[in-house]
Symmetry: C2
């Protein structure tokens, strides 16, 4: 299954398309509110958005996957405990501070959940907390609690956009994807642009549906969809401490064919995966690496990850420089460790349809060089613009101008398994974004 391609010429066209996807499934409501506070760690004013997603009726149909990072955030710790609840009713999400390894982090998260539960008149174990942002800082507990009445009173059942917009941090635009299945729908939203190489899940994804599916079946469908989507991407090889994917069903619409639901859920996850990579921090080029002829799907995926995570190959693509030697270096870096005795004499590599390596030997000439440059130029989302201060690069677009990729195919000649991995180049905008992220 591939992701759905999209091209826009303007912010307005992108906004109109987002609106067309954003109708909430039956039984859901959402809202956000934005406010100022002062982190105790730095004593400088900062802004936070609080987002609430709620169900009209508690549901017993929920599924969640969390980060494998060994320092999980407090909301992840609480969320794992919530998997034992009988029903879920609400998700409260804040950006700016991720509540990871902070003093009394779990207690703070639970107290905020209790305050919300009181207002919504539901048990506290029906409230799931989520946080994203700076690691190590403490949540401003009283400021958040004082904002709860305003976000509850703003709840509406029309559009998921307030939630998609409320959860972002360094994202340039909100991410919404939806698929209709029979009489119901699946709507997914995501945030995430850096610290993205999910292990089990990615940074805050919410999948909402009104289709009638039981909890166990939903959990299995989510695991399978994540495996084929978020697990096949990397922006910067860093695994977040807060990665969370949630699926919730209000069970209002009949589900005729489970296979249709599973396919639709995977499609939404794959589409969101592409949205996340395409809006990765500073991304100029999206890389789509199709690895085949592998002895296992796992090895195919790791070969693809080794390519998209190679700093040198990422920089070459940023410069539209067909330095394909680095591509082969990255394949060999992984395989030299994982399969040190593999016979690579049948390995082939192509880029933009142009075969570069055949039977383990390069075939390069000025004509292929020119073809590769043209392919990369065509796949460029934007080029760097020299910044006014000479140092702080800012992306030149605020919407996805097209959905083209740098297309790479690797045939290992070692088996029958395959996998497609999405990644991105490495640019001045990524450095600028992350050299001073917290301000």
């Amino acid at each position: 299954m591939t992701s759905t391609s999209l091209t826009f010429d303007s912010v307005e066209a992108h906004r109109a398309w987002l609106a067309s996807q954003s109708a909430l499934p039956e039984g859901f409501r959402c809202a956000n509110t934005r406010f100022e506070f002062v982190p105790v760690e730095v004593h400088k004013p900062s802004k936070m958005t609080l987002t609430l997603i709620s169900l009209d009726q508690p549901t017993d149909s929920f599924a969640a996957m969390f980060t494998r990072n060994a320092f999980p955030g407090a909301p992840v710790i609480v969320g794992r405990a919530r998997l034992r609840s009988s029903h879920w009713s609400a998700i409260l999400i804040n950006n700016k501070i991720s509540n990871v390894c902070a003093p009394d982090g779990v207690t703070t998260a639970e107290r905020i959940c209790e305050a919300l539960a009181t207002q919504l008149d539901i048990p506290v174990d029906q409230v799931l907390p989520c946080s994203t942002g700076v690691i190590g800082w403490q949540l401003p507990e009283s400021a958040i609690i004082s904002q709860l009445p305003s976000v509850v009173s703003a709840l509406q059942s029309e559009s998921v956009l307030p939630a998609a917009e409320g959860i972002v941090t360094t994202d340039l635009y909100p991410k919404v994807r939806s698929v209709t299945v029979g009489q119901g729908r699946i709507v997914g939203i995501a945030k995430g642009a850096g610290m993205i190489e999910p292990k089990l899940a990615t940074m805050l994804v919410y999948l909402l549906t009104d289709l009638d599916i039981d909890r166990e079946t939903l959990q299995q469908a989510l695991r399978d969809a994540v495996e084929e989507s978020f697990h096949c991407m990397s922006i910067d090889s860093d695994t977040s401490t807060s990665d969370t994917v949630i699926a919730l069903s209000s069970r209002r619409k009949p589900l005729d064919h489970l296979q249709d639901f599973r396919a639709a859920l995977t499609q939404v996850c794959r589409d969101l995966t592409e949205d996340i990579v395409r809006n990765g921090e500073g991304v100029h080029h999206v890389l789509r690496v199709h690895v085949k002829g592998a002895p296992s799907v796992e090895i195919a995926r790791e070969v693809g990850k080794s390519i998209v995570n190679s700093p040198l190959f990422q920089c070459a693509v940023c410069g539209n420089d067909p330095n394909v030697g680095r591509l082969v270096m990255a394949i060999g870096k992984y395989l030299g460790e994982a399969l040190p005795h593999a016979d690579l004499s049948r390995c082939a590599v192509s880029m933009g349809g142009c075969e570069l390596l055949r039977d383990g030997i390069f075939h390069l000439d000025p004509a292929s060089e020119n073809a590769l440059v043209a392919h990369m130029r065509a796949a460029e989302l934007y080029a760097s613009v020299p910044p006014p201060d000479g140092l702080t690069f800012v992306p030149a677009v605020r919407f996805p101008p097209h959905e083209r990729c740098v297309e790479i195919t690797v045939s290992l000649g070692l088996g029958e398994s395959e996998c497609t991995v999405l990644g991105a180049d490495r640019t001045h905008e990524y450095i600028s974004e992350n050299a001073d992220y917290r301000t």
Copy 2:
């Protein structure tokens, strides 16, 4: 063992120090020559330097370690075969093209060795070829062979500097380190600034000694020294296809104590490791991460590597931004995979002597924030200068101004093993260097 610290305030002071280290051990000679050629792959003129290191008499005391990349260069393939020779007499090194996966790469390397062997009147199996540079391109065989008389006639026995200068690519300055042991010496030279996370060896290191040591003892000493030096560094997590470390002895001076030799060899390797990291592509800050309390040295090293290879932490250090949450993220990213059930409740992290995390919980305030910023500013080699074209950043120094590091200590609380890892930040200069490396 730590590396030796060095501070210079000018190119001239650095050059004078290099000269003071560069006397060749007895029995060695070297030279280089530079020439123009046209690569068949791009049809644009390019320049190459050919370097020759030779022994007055063939030696049976040699040792070598090569890359673990699954696509080794042709010189690595030939070099592995040369380990079965009875004696070595000469090493011929070219930069600009690494002869990896190129058509007829091994045949070309062997034909160049034969031409040199004829001129030096030695058997071809006494000549070791080495190449570094663009991956995938073919060596200009006839151009190289036509340069051999000029490099042979330039051989001299005074200084190793012509070799140290001849082998560089993106290095800003040559790297020489030496130690005196009794009546003899060990002199080491290295090149390498990118594609540096060696697996078994790093990109082209030559260790020359006149101390009398047999081949087997030299090989063991080299393996141990590499394990404690080049294996504990990473600039960009990319493992070269050409990594090669060679040790050669002319056996002219008596060796009284083997332990002294082993310690001196390790010292030279550690010092060269620091030189390589400090001159890594675009490096503003050297990171020295001391990981202790680990269940094994391997895990201590991989925790250190996970920190120095985290793109997000690297960018934060570049910006002198004490985003220490990313440091903890990087520890958890590795341990979540390697030891998913580890108890990290006794984990502590400090930076510049300031304790940030104790018993798994952060303790951050404006005072520690200011101390961390001051520590990083003091360890900065140089700051970016806005480039004339707004895009192409060039390092502001051409010599190592000081030898200070960003000092990080991680106590895992999981055991008794430890390891110190060297790495670097990620900067605009790295992006500029690598977005268009081949021109």
